[in-house]
């Protein structure tokens, strides 16, 4: 019953968001595009990193793969096929990275993803300079901001729906168990590596799609633009601010932070990086579980604790 109401509300909100750009100017639509893009990025990031607690710093690697694939293929293939190709490439890279790093302790995964974007950027640059002889490409696709926005909005809805479904599925339970204690999870019968790999690949594919869909906004694309590490950083902050283990957490973190960063970069372009860093440190310090958990934590003491003798619960 509750679920039905929630779905009706979500559908109404989606419809409202879909017609919103009809009443906005180009700047407003631009904001909506950026905001929706980050809602998807943060939600997709949290889909994997939230339950498993593997911090991925590779967001922009996949985002860039998506954008660059569109730049390379948009002239030769029909648009849906281009998106499909982008997905396939993102998925392949995710599987290679995941297979080689997810078996190991989380720290190796973080370190590897930290440099992945730089590695792919250098490889693409090397390929362009040595094989195709060009660096930088133009994208001529007949899309306006509103078309990109609608695609992103659909992707956002699909991503949230998918997250919701995974949360309720066996896979979701498996991931939360893995995030808590891999040894216990494995001894309960969970194929730990496969569960992590599946989610990492899924999350990476969605991130690739965001890059692919947003690419036409740039018109001119080169590796340094689409592999900008700030994108990984922003995605991470947004998901953490909202709370990476909640369905709506990343989206709720993404919207205010995106607007804040837009305002900051317009008004304090020189100090942007410093403010960003300080902000980020603050979030790790004061909201380690995200805003949603903080709000719940503030509410919880009001509820009565179970009337059990608790004197030994500290023993575990």
């Amino acid at each position: 019953m509750n679920t039905t109401v929630a779905f009706i509300l979500a559908a109404a909100a989606l419809a409202g968001l879909a017609i919103a750009p009809l009443f906005l100017n180009a700047y407003g639509i631009g904001l909506l595009v950026g905001m929706t893009g980050y809602v998807v990025l943060a939600s997709a990031w949290a889909m994997f990193s939230g339950p498993t607690r593997y911090v991925s710093l590779a967001t922009v690697a996949f985002f860039g793969i998506g954008a660059y694939t569109v730049a390379v293929l948009s002239e030769t293939l029909p648009y849906p096929l281009v998106l499909l190709c982008a997905c396939a490439i993102g998925l392949t890279v995710a599987l290679i990275v995941g297979l080689s790093t997810l078996r190991l302790a989380g720290i190796y995964f973080v370190i590897f993803t930290f440099g992945l974007a730089e590695l792919i950027r250098q490889l693409v640059t090397w390929y362009e300079v040595n094989v195709t002889g060009t660096l930088g490409r133009y994208i001529f696709l007949p899309f306006e901001g509103i078309h990109i926005y609608w695609q992103l909005l659909a992707l956002a809805a699909a991503t949230l729906l998918l997250s919701w479904w995974i949360n309720r599925s066996r896979l979701g339970l498996a991931l939360r168990a893995v995030g808590d204690d891999e040894v216990v999870a494995a001894h309960a019968g969970i194929n730990v590596s496969r569960a992590k790999l599946m989610l990492f690949a899924l999350s990476a594919t969605i991130i690739t799609l965001v890059g692919a869909i947003q690419a036409p906004r740039w018109v001119y694309v080169e590796p340094a633009i689409v592999f900008n590490p700030t994108i990984s950083f922003l995605t991470l902050i947004m998901a953490l601010l909202g709370g990476a283990t909640r369905l709506w957490g990343p989206a709720l973190g993404a919207i205010p932070l995106f607007l804040l960063f837009e305002w900051l970069s317009a008004n304090f372009p020189n100090y942007f990086s410093i403010i960003l860093g300080v902000f980020f440190i603050g979030i790790v310090f004061f909201l380690p579980q995200g805003v949603l958990a903080k709000i719940e934590g503030l509410r919880r003491p009001a509820r009565k604790a179970p009337p059990e003798n608790k004197e030994r619960s500290g023993a575990a």
Binding site: R170, L173, A174, R176, A177, G179, D180, D181, V183, V184, A185, A186, H187, A188, G189, I190, N191, V192, T245, A305, P306, E308, N309, K310, E311, R312, S313, A315, A316
Partner: protein, 242 residues
């Protein structure tokens, strides 16, 4: 014909240290066997090899004729081996019922949906946690966490249950509850390998015992005989007492 659980010439080496040397024993269907020995004698290492947490250096482990040594822990779990841990390991971000659901969903029979919820409640009721599935595991007392861990192990409907000092750290009254629980499992026909230090519990539950010291089996047979064995007494109390 091979037994229910058959361990043959099992060996484990960590670098230069041989933790388990040539260990062989078996557990029959429906039998509760005690695995004893002083700290560091290699009991938990044996348990870890059965459950797949460690790979044996040599030797074989079969369950109902199927070789399970060298499989991944999740495969072994799905073959029907369930275990508890020396220090309780609840999954803290899951509720009590969800902890049990994990084993139901990924154990031998892969239950999911409303019937899995019912089964989880059933397992929790069996260990004495009926109606408390919605609670946060962090709020459980120590014995209740141990109960929950047992329920989680039982939820995979194992063919063999490994209890690693499951009764350790309980008060005398809790201990009696714990022994009764294992005894109920025993009468339900569960095969159990019990690593335990509490001799009263071993006497109450196991007809047969295996005693290890320094990685080797030093005694093996009916519990009362084994516990009187001078070698076993010496291993536990030091040679001066033998």
């Amino acid at each position: 014909m091979s037994s229910h659980l058959q361990i043959t010439h099992l060996r484990k080496r960590f670098g230069g240290l041989v933790a388990v040397k040539d260990v062989s024993f078996d557990v029959a269907d429906g039998e509760v066997v005690g695995l004893l020995g002083p700290n560091g004698s290699g009991k938990t290492t044996v348990l870890n090899m059965i459950s797949g947490a460690l790979l044996p250096t040599a030797g074989e482990i079969t369950l109902r004729g199927v070789r399970i040594s060298r499989l991944r822990p999740d495969r072994i779990a799905r073959h029907g081996v369930a275990r508890t841990f020396q220090l309780v390991r609840p999954l803290p971000s899951l509720t009590v019922a969800e902890n049990v659901l994990v084993s139901l969903a990924f154990g031998r029979f892969k239950h999911w949906g409303p019937d899995a919820r019912d089964l989880a409640e059933e397992k929790l009721a069996f260990v004495g946690l009926g109606g408390r599935g919605g609670e946060n595991v962090a709020n459980l007392t120590y014995i209740d966490q141990k109960r929950m861990e047992l329920a989680r192990a039982l939820a995979s409907e194992p063919a063999l249950l490994l209890l690693d000092e499951w009764l350790a750290g309980l008060t005398p009254s809790e201990l009696q509850i714990g022994i009764d629980l294992v005894r109920r499992l025993q009468s339900a026909g569960m095969s159990v390998l019990l690593v335990e230090h509490i001799m009263d519990a071993v006497r109450a539950l196991c007809a047969r015992c295996v005693v290890m010291n320094a990685g080797e089996i030093i005694a093996h047979g009916p519990t009362e005989t084994v516990l009187k064995d001078p070698g076993v007494v010496a291993a536990y109390l030091g040679d001066g007492h033998a």
